[in-house]
């Protein structure tokens, strides 16, 4: 078995926009999706994630580059000849067919005999917990149920890759959380490569083995969910995934991956640069620090300690968010867990505090 289920090599998609200009939806994207993994393409709307998915499915053809599915170049192969199946955003169930006919459609087109279709369809419906729904019509089902039918309709064909185009977008929050876990469970059970498109970073982090963060047609970073969160490689990724602080500064000294950054207001910051990233003295950089990695309570060997004044305190249940103003009018958001039995705040507005931060938690971003 080839290592990669899907491979995009230098794939671009351009098409004429509404006023005749050329819009680049996907710009020279290269990505490798490993066999059997849950892979997400994450980005704001218009970043090219859906277009990329549609190109893998065959609904759009790349303007340049090539897409491989298990090492086979797809070229102009039409959708109905590709070994992939899609779960659509609004499910796209056939309204004139029963659930059973919907699920069996792919097998019927493949020429599987009726008895076998029936057996496998009911098996697939069982897998998505809709056993016995064969005779119903799509419109008689709730959104969540329709979603599961769409899943069964795709999975029943045992595709080499399952493509999911924001399939949870139309569901309410609670159902969404349920379906996220359900999808994850299904993926583990069937062992099929899932390529999942979403604009919801939390969803992507929850479900994926690996994530590709996209913006304006480019893949900015690709890696494990934790890697993307802990070691963002650029400001966009750091900002898009979760919450973070940005401090502007200039490189003062550098030894290996340890970088000393002089922040605005003359503060010094010991920070970590990415492996392989080139930082030179004097270079302008941004330092990003996740609020939950910062603390108002001191700990042994904290690399950076800043004096500041509390500007705002927001209690959100599990945590409390403090906004601290540092020298040079820079602000840091600090997130402290409310593990005190009485959830007493660590500081009040106007209090002078110290903010602690480790070197590994301060990441140097060059772009």
């Amino acid at each position: 078995m080839p290592e990669f289920a899907v491979e995009l090599r230098n794939v671009s998609k351009r098409f004429p926009g509404p006023s005749g200009e050329i819009v680049t939806a996907v710009n020279n994207v290269t990505m490798q999706i490993k066999d059997g993994e849950f892979f997400s393409m994450l980005g704001p709307s218009g970043c090219g994630k859906t277009t990329s998915l549609r190109m893998i499915a065959g609904f759009e053809l790349p303007t340049a580059g090539e897409i491989y599915i298990h090492d086979r170049p797809m070229g102009h192969t039409p959708p109905y000849k590709r070994p992939v199946n899609t779960v659509f955003q609004n499910y796209a169930l056939f309204p004139h067919m029963t659930i059973g006919q919907n699920v069996g459609f792919g097998l019927e087109m493949k020429g599987v005999e009726p008895k076998e279709i029936q057996r496998r369809s009911s098996e697939a419906l069982e897998m998505v917990r809709l056993a016995g729904y064969e005779k119903r019509m799509a419109r008689q089902l709730s959104g969540g149920q329709q979603q599961r039918v769409a899943l069964a309709r795709a999975l029943v064909n045992h595709p080499e890759v399952l493509l999911l185009d924001e399939p949870l977008g139309a569901l309410d929050l609670k159902l969404r959380k349920e379906m996220q876990l359900e999808l994850k469970r299904l993926q583990r059970e069937v062992g099929i490569t899932f390529v999942f498109v979403t604009h919801d970073q939390e969803e992507a982090l929850t479900m994926s083995d690996r994530v590709a963060v996209m913006s304006a047609g480019n893949v900015l970073q690709m890696g494990a969910a934790s890697e993307i969160y802990e070691k963002p490689n650029c400001r966009f990724v750091a900002d898009f995934i979760g919450e973070t602080n940005f401090l502007e500064g200039a490189v003062k000294a550098q030894t290996g991956r340890d970088v000393d950054v002089e922040l605005a207001g003359g503060l010094l910051c010991r920070a970590t640069a990415d492996e392989g990233s080139q930082v030179v003295s004097g270079q302008k950089v941004t330092v990003t620090m996740r609020p939950e990695k910062l603390g108002l309570r001191p700990w042994q060997g904290a690399d950076n300690v800043y004096d500041g004044r509390v500007e705002e305190v927001v209690y959100i249940g599990t945590d409390t968010h403090y906004t601290v103003v540092l020298a040079g009018d820079q602000r840091l958001r600090v997130r402290e867990q409310n593990d005190d039995p009485l959830s007493r705040p660590l500081a009040a507005i106007g209090d002078a505090v110290k903010v602690y931060c480790d070197e590994v938690s301060a990441r140097v971003l060059t772009e």
Partner: protein, 281 residues
């Protein structure tokens, strides 16, 4: 609280209904008249084997009329099938694709609906004469081989004015059509052809059906366009009736009209039912 309806409103409504339906009722009643001149109702006819349906039976013995009825049905059937196919394809193309001159072709498609039918009739007549004249001279056709006005030109004309109506009705149906279901079918190994027959057509079928029924009724009672484009062997019922009227009216004519009304009524009801089903989806 129930709303009290004004008696005036009821009276006006009743008048409108009388105005609309009295002629039809009179027409049907006179189909059973025993007077041949059919000016005054002189009691229900009871003659021959058919009793009160004497005039209806007489119709069947009228060769010209039977031929005209057959022509009408042939024209209606062929033009309905052709215009439904073409109109549906036009609607799909306009819905789906962007192409240069799309706005223009969309407008031009609906022009036949708004222009006076007599203009359409004269236009078609001029077109046929010029075209046939050109072809006949170029290929030296003569005698029976000559292209001339007749049943064929009537069918072509009916297709021409029915296509826009079908396209309009089918497009209305396509408005809510989710293109993703076609992609879903293609994703599930159905090629374009199978996708059309298994997914697209079944979903838009109620629209196609009401378009077809509309085309059928339009063709069935068309007079003006037919009048201009018909020729020997192409007499349809409306043309035949017009010819009869210029001579003398007998209850035969009323019998004919009665049958006609029943047919149109049934077709319209079917069209309504198809429309309902389409909304229910």
């Amino acid at each position: 609280m129930t709303k009290r309806r004004s008696p005036w409103l009821l009276a006006v409504t009743a008048l409108v209904y009388i105005f609309l339906y009295a002629p039809i009722i009179v027409l049907i009643v006179f189909a059973f008249n025993s007077s041949r001149t059919n000016v005054v109702f002189e009691g229900v006819v009871n003659q021959g084997d058919c009793g009160p349906f004497y005039w209806f039976c007489q119709l069947g013995r009228n060769r010209e009329l039977v031929a005209a009825a057959r022509n009408t049905l042939v024209v209606a059937a062929t033009s309905t099938v052709a215009s439904t196919v073409i109109g549906t394809m036009a609607a799909l193309a306009l819905q789906r694709y962007k192409f240069p001159g799309k706005a223009y072709s969309e407008i031009s498609l609906y022009i036949p609906i708004v222009i006076p039918e007599i203009v359409m009739g004269v236009g078609l007549l001029v077109l046929y004469s010029a075209l046939f004249g050109f072809i006949n001279t170029t290929f030296g056709l003569n005698g029976d081989n000559r292209l001339s006005l007749g049943l064929g030109t009537v069918i072509l004309s009916h297709i021409a004015f029915s296509v826009p109506f079908v396209a309009l009705v089918v497009r209305a149906r396509l408005q809510g059509f989710d293109k993703a279901v076609e992609e879903a079918a293609m994703d599930l190994y159905a090629n374009e052809w199978t996708t059309f027959w298994r997914v697209t057509l079944p979903i838009i079928f109620p629209g196609v059906m009401s378009g077809a029924l509309l085309a059928f009724t339009l063709s069935l009672d068309d007079f003006i366009t037919t009048f201009f484009t018909t020729g020997p062997g192409g007499t349809t019922l409306p043309i035949y009736v017009y010819g009869l009227l210029r001579r003398v009216t007998t209850p035969e004519l009323n019998a004919l009209a009665t049958i006609w009304i029943v047919i149109v009524f049934v077709v319209l009801m079917l069209s309504q039912l198809a429309g309902r089903r389409s909304e229910a989806h």
